[in-house]
Structures are given as structure tokens and as C-alpha cells.
Symmetry: C2
Subunit: 455 residues, 2 copies
Amino acid sequence: MSEPKQLLLNLFEMGAPGHITHGMWRQEGNQRQRYADLSYWTELAQLLEHGGFDAVFLADVLGGYDVHTGSLAPALRMGLQIPQVDPSVLVPAMAVVTDHLGFGLTASTTYEPPFSFARRISSLDLLTRGRVAWNVVTSYLPGAARNFGLADQIDHDTRYAIAEEFLQVTYALWEGSWDDDAVLADAEAGVYTRPDGVRPIDHVGQHFRVAGPHLVEPTPQRTPLLYQATASSAGIALAGRHAEVVFTGGPNPGVVRRTAEGARAAAEREGRRREDVRFVVQAAIITGRNDDQVAEKLARYRATTDPQGKFVHMSVPFDAPSHPVDRTVREALLAEGRDDLVAAGGLPMDITVGQLATGIDEAWQQHFFVAGTPDVVADEVERWLDEEGIDGINLRQYHSTETARDFVELVAPELRRRGRLREEYEPGQTLRERTTGGGPRLPDTHPAARYRSGR
Amino acid sequence: MSEPKQLLLNLFEMGAPGHITHGMWRQEGNQRQRYADLSYWTELAQLLEHGGFDAVFLADVLGGYDVHTGSLAPALRMGLQIPQVDPSVLVPAMAVVTDHLGFGLTASTTYEPPFSFARRISSLDLLTRGRVAWNVVTSYLPGAARNFGLADQIDHDTRYAIAEEFLQVTYALWEGSWDDDAVLADAEAGVYTRPDGVRPIDHVGQHFRVAGPHLVEPTPQRTPLLYQATASSAGIALAGRHAEVVFTGGPNPGVVRRTAEGARAAAEREGRRREDVRFVVQAAIITGRNDDQVAEKLARYRATTDPQGKFVHMSVPFDAPSHPVDRTVREALLAEGRDDLVAAGGLPMDITVGQLATGIDEAWQQHFFVAGTPDVVADEVERWLDEEGIDGINLRQYHSTETARDFVELVAPELRRRGRLREEYEPGQTLRERTTGGGPRLPDTHPAARYRSGR
């Protein structure tokens, strides 16, 4: 009998009062208002490392959610991803107080120059001794585009073409610019770096021109562990080519399986192995020592959920909750004077506002959801691992840090008992080694490998 | 009798094995090879805070020094600012282990988008509770330009025009985008941020288009304490308009005085007060408990200095040390086949290589230099404060962390005895309050003030 598959375990977080469980900062004792305190992050990091988490996975956006109601007001009122802090500044603070916890950083390929981005990521990988993952995204908010000199969002395909070239530039810097043995730090000979071990990358492409060399010496992982959050077909192709872990979702397990199958097939077409791509889903887990505790939390979380949050977060382009539920989408849009949206199409015009809300509710609760005692949760984790074929979860927090602490204190011990979660960290392992079971660097089958030794 | 003027005290540092005292990483016990260890930075930060330093002032470059000899090889061999790490990732790590120490971050206005830069700086100011300074630079290395899509350096005047607009964008984000009382975090009412307290900036300029609003809530200082490193005339004009502290130098105190006078006059023309601009110089201080210790250190530092370092760092465009000292610059250039440089002019062709080296030596040792026991050092500090009119120093390290420790253990007590260094930090003060004696925000006379409340 083979070993049971172990859970890849991340906490899904964001440097903001509201991330993905909207309105819940209002709960008594919730620590979200401390998102701007370093101590919130150092305490959280220590809790997660104590609980054996693989990483804290940090979301990010570069603009506000202003599509719903055509205004940023609802997002501001709810603290929905605004105000916020840059996730990259949270990592070094958490790294100081931990030895093993990984850090998943969401960062877009669309707006920042790849050279300085690659430097920042390498600096983090060097200083954390190989504990960094990059969640590659292309940005989906029009509000972000307008903060970077553009009138509106770049079209989807161009964003993915830019992402592909951005990745090539960063691979060249990370994998090819410095030899492993370039740094000698030989005080006797007076040679810090062997100059012939370092070379420019001389990238000249359609979107970027970058000479190099990289300014950072080789880091434990070189290229950080590569995540990609996706469900679109262009995203699946990019993930199949590049991602080591795909963060995905869908209204039901069938969609997750189709995404996984699509990404694995894409990986094979690119000469990678099917098992080179792993899958994590967002997990909504509510637990307690007994059913009463579970019921109390479930009721409390439901009661503090801001129902408008999902419309804002999913960029539904009109103020759906303000209309009678039996009004059609078309009627609601016309009542708001949004004839432009009716003309543009794209929305299901003939369903009612009530049906739309139900549909979004289902999509919103798309992910792994379970409320129950630790054995019930562990059963569900095992079912997702064994039957749905996922490799891990990004745990969402309803209450910070009650949700994380519940997992650490109640669920983790049960998963350990079942052989689904490591007993302890392997000292000195990089995040990639722990996640993939391979070496600290990308495997030779990955497209980044062709940039090695400046080839 | 008035209080004696107190010293503004920074350590000048960089996340690299070699910053400004080239070759010295080779000394026994020097910790420069630990530049990539978080513990190097946390230990250093604790030492500086113990010693009452105002800030650690972090240098930065976005490319390599490859003008001298037309190659990056000498810089690589010496570890001269390469390899390196992004200074912004060092700040949160140091902030976790300190309460008062400030962080001066050098960052260029030439290559990165202002929106994400402003977000990163605000995130740091928020998380450190107002301990951040920004050293505004425009980048001088052609190697940096080539890493950001350009064939060569942007001309000096254009760089300063971009800098001016970059500052306007960041001021609008920092000062004008959020009201002080916009964040309510009112759980009862369910209002995190009052939407009418937040507004876009809608900047449309020659170099940037940025809609906003800023994504970060008001931080203790809003705009970080503004440093500028300069000596050029365009730099002095920019400093007079914007800088709260100017980091300057020159071959002798007269040049420092002329720079200071120029910047103060420029400030007055901009409607600011002369005293709104302060001046720090780089200080080279070698001390010991007695003259023998001073002599030992001086000899050791001299012996491990790499003489080529200054040519590389000052971008002397040919391999001067490889030529006989009595050869003229023209002859040396022709011998290297650099007819182009002879034709281009700009170098003093008729002086000898030996005279060039002496000239650079003098320029190189331009700054505040003293080797002596603590009372001798304190005398020199007082002379610079009282006679030369400076306000503070950026202390360079010859040996890390011997130099910083010598200052903390030997010089700081002597300066305290003379009333030149604070006895202790004022709890809760921002870096701006401590540095300027004013409030946590920029004074109303500063050009950033006109962006307040979205005006």
C-alpha cells in the first residue's frame, strides 16, 4: 500500500481589512484592523509555522474594485482589498520570526518592469533561503490599468503575450545570468565574484528590452516556486507551460477536474510531465470542538457577511442588490440608465436579479466548503485529495486569526493522525523541495531550463 | 546661551558585499559576506538603535558599474555593489526588531512606475509607523538604463523633468488622495472607509498618467521624509524645491558650503524657508580607545583598500591603473584604442595618469575624514556642525560592523557628553519629527502641501 497523499497547506491572506470574506472585519475580536501592524503578520507567521503550514499565500491587486455600481464606494465602505499594503513588504517581517514557512506572492506581469521585479523576488528568495513562491497573474481590474498610464484594461490575449515574454526575461535573469559557482568570496585572492561566471541576458523582445546581468547572485531556488491562479483557457495554456502549482476553482469539482486535465495536457504538449503540475483550491473550512461550536461559527460568519461583497468582488456592473428580485437584469440596467451595458450584451439579460444573485452565490461558494468537527473536515480533505485529485488548499479566513488557529489546533492534528500532513518540517528545505519532492531548482523539463548557463 | 546643535546620525549602508570602501570585505571578521542574511541586518539595526542612530541610509543602483575598462569585470571581482539585494526588502526585517530606528531608502524616479512605488513606500511607512525616508535619485548609470528598455542613459535634464513629475504624482497620492479621517473602521455601522474621504488623483502629464486613488490609507508621515543626494546644478534646484535633507559632498568644505547655499537659495525662491533644508555629508571616521588602536585600524583599512575601486565607482572610462603614471590621459586612451573617447573630449587629456589618480583620490576623500580617539572625532564633528554648517552625517563603514560599533561604543558617549547627540529617543516620534523638529507631516511651505485634500 502506498503512502497516503499529503496535503499542500497554505493560508490565503491579503494585507487588507477585507480580502475574500467580506464584512467579517466587523466581528468581535477579529484582527483585520491590525493588517497594518507588523505584529499581526509576525504572530500569524509563527502560528502557521507552529501548525505546519507550507506557506502564507498573499493576494494582491493594483487598483480598486469599481465596476459594480461604477464606483469604488462599496469597496471602500467594506474595506474590500482597500486600504491595503504591498504584500512584498510583509515577507521579510514574517521571515525574521520563522525558519520554514513559505511565502506565496501574487504579482502581475502587466505593469512593472521585469528587471526590478526579478531583483526584488531574488532578494526575497536569497534572504529567506528559498522560501518564496510567485503567483503569476496578469491583472484583471480596469482600475489597475488606469494607475499605470492606460485608458483601460489591455485585452486578454495581449496580457498573456506580455506575461509570456515577462516570464522569459525573468527566467533569463534567474536561471542564466550567474553560474552557480560564480561567487567565490575568496578573501585571499581578492575575488568576490568570478567575472566569467556572470553574463548579460541581452533580451530584445516585443514588449521588453533588458540587458542584464541580473544584480542578485544565485538564490536557493533561482526561479521562485511558480504558482498560477487561473481558470481561463489562455490561463490554462500559460499554466501548462510554466506553473508548478495551479490555484484554481470552479462552481463544482467537475470544473476543477477539467481545468486540471487541461493544464496537465498543456504541460505534456510542452514536454513537461503531467505530475509536474499540482493543483490547489481555495478551501472554506469552519470547524469547532463539537457541532454546537461549528453551528455558532457558521451562524456568526453568515450574519456578518456583507452580501454586496460578492457583487463588488466579481465586478457585476450594476447595483443588483438595490433592485426587486423579480426584475430582469435588462430592466434593472435600464432603470439605472445603463443602456450602454444592455447594448454591449455579455450579461444574461432575461434572468431575474434574484436568479443572478443565486447564480453568483453558487459561483462564489464554488470552492471546497465544509463546516464540521475535525473528523468531518478531515474526511472532506481526504475526499478532495483522493477523489477530486487536488494536491492542496489555500485556506480562507472568516475570522482572523480564529480560522487559522482552529485549523492549527483542531484539523492539523487529525490530518497528521491520518498521515495527511507532515509531522515536522525538513530542516533547510526550500519551498520547492517541500512542495514538489524534487530539487531546489526547476526540473530540466521546465521551459526556464533552457536559459541555464546562458544558453 | 543656546543649546548646541545636535548631530543627525545615519549609517550609510548597502545590501552588497562592497558599498563604498572597496576591497574591505577581505578583512578578517568583516561581516560583508553576510549581506544576504537577515540576521546581519537585524543585528545591525539593533546595534544602531542601541547607539541612538537616526537611521540606516541604504544606497541603491539598478545596474552595474561597467564604464571603467568598458567591462563589469572589476566591479564583479571586487563585489562592488554587485551582487546586491533590493534595499526595500531589508526595511521590514529591521523594523521588526527595532522601535525607533529610521530607514533611508534610495530609489530612482527614472525607471519604475510611480503608482506602485508610492504604494510600496506608503506600505513601509505604515508598517514602520513613520520611520521611512526616501532618498530621491535619478540614476546615473548607463547600465541601469539598459535594464529598463533604453539604449543608453536618458539625458540629465530629461531625467530631472521626469523626477519633477514623478514627485508630483507621488505627492498627489500621498497627500491628497485620502482624508485623515477617511478610515473609520466602524464595526457597528459597517463602514471601514468613508467613501467621500477618498478621491482619484487623475494625473495626466507628459511622462505619467495615473488615475488613483492611492491604495494605502494615510500613513504617519504621508510623504516620507525627503532626502536628495546631489551636487549638480539641476540637482540643487530639485533639492531646493523638494528636499528636507540634502546628502552632499565635494572636494572640500567650501564646495559643501556652496551647495548648501545654492539649495537654501533655491528653497527660498520656491517659498520655503532656508532652514527647511538640512545637510548631511558622508563621514569617514576611524577611531579607537587610544592612538595605537587608531593607527592599527587606519593601516589595516588602507592595506585592504582596492585601489581600482575608486576608478570603477567614479566611472573613469579607461583602465588608468594599468598605465605608467607619467603617461598622459590622451596617450593612455590611444594605447587602449579609445580614439572615440579622445574625440569625444570631456576628459583632461594633457594631465598624466598619475595626476588623474591624485585628483580622483582627493575627490574620493572629499568627505568628512577623521582618524583619532573619540575626543578628536568629537572635535571634528563639532567643527563640521558649527563651522561648516552641516546638520549630520552618513557614516561609512570600513569594517562591518567594527566601524558602527566603534561609533556606538566610543564616539556616541563623547558626543552625548557634549550635548551633540540625544540621550534617548522620544517614544512614538516619526522620523520627520525627530529630524526636523516639526510635525509628522511636511510643512505647509512644501510644494507637496498644495495636493492636500485633493486641491
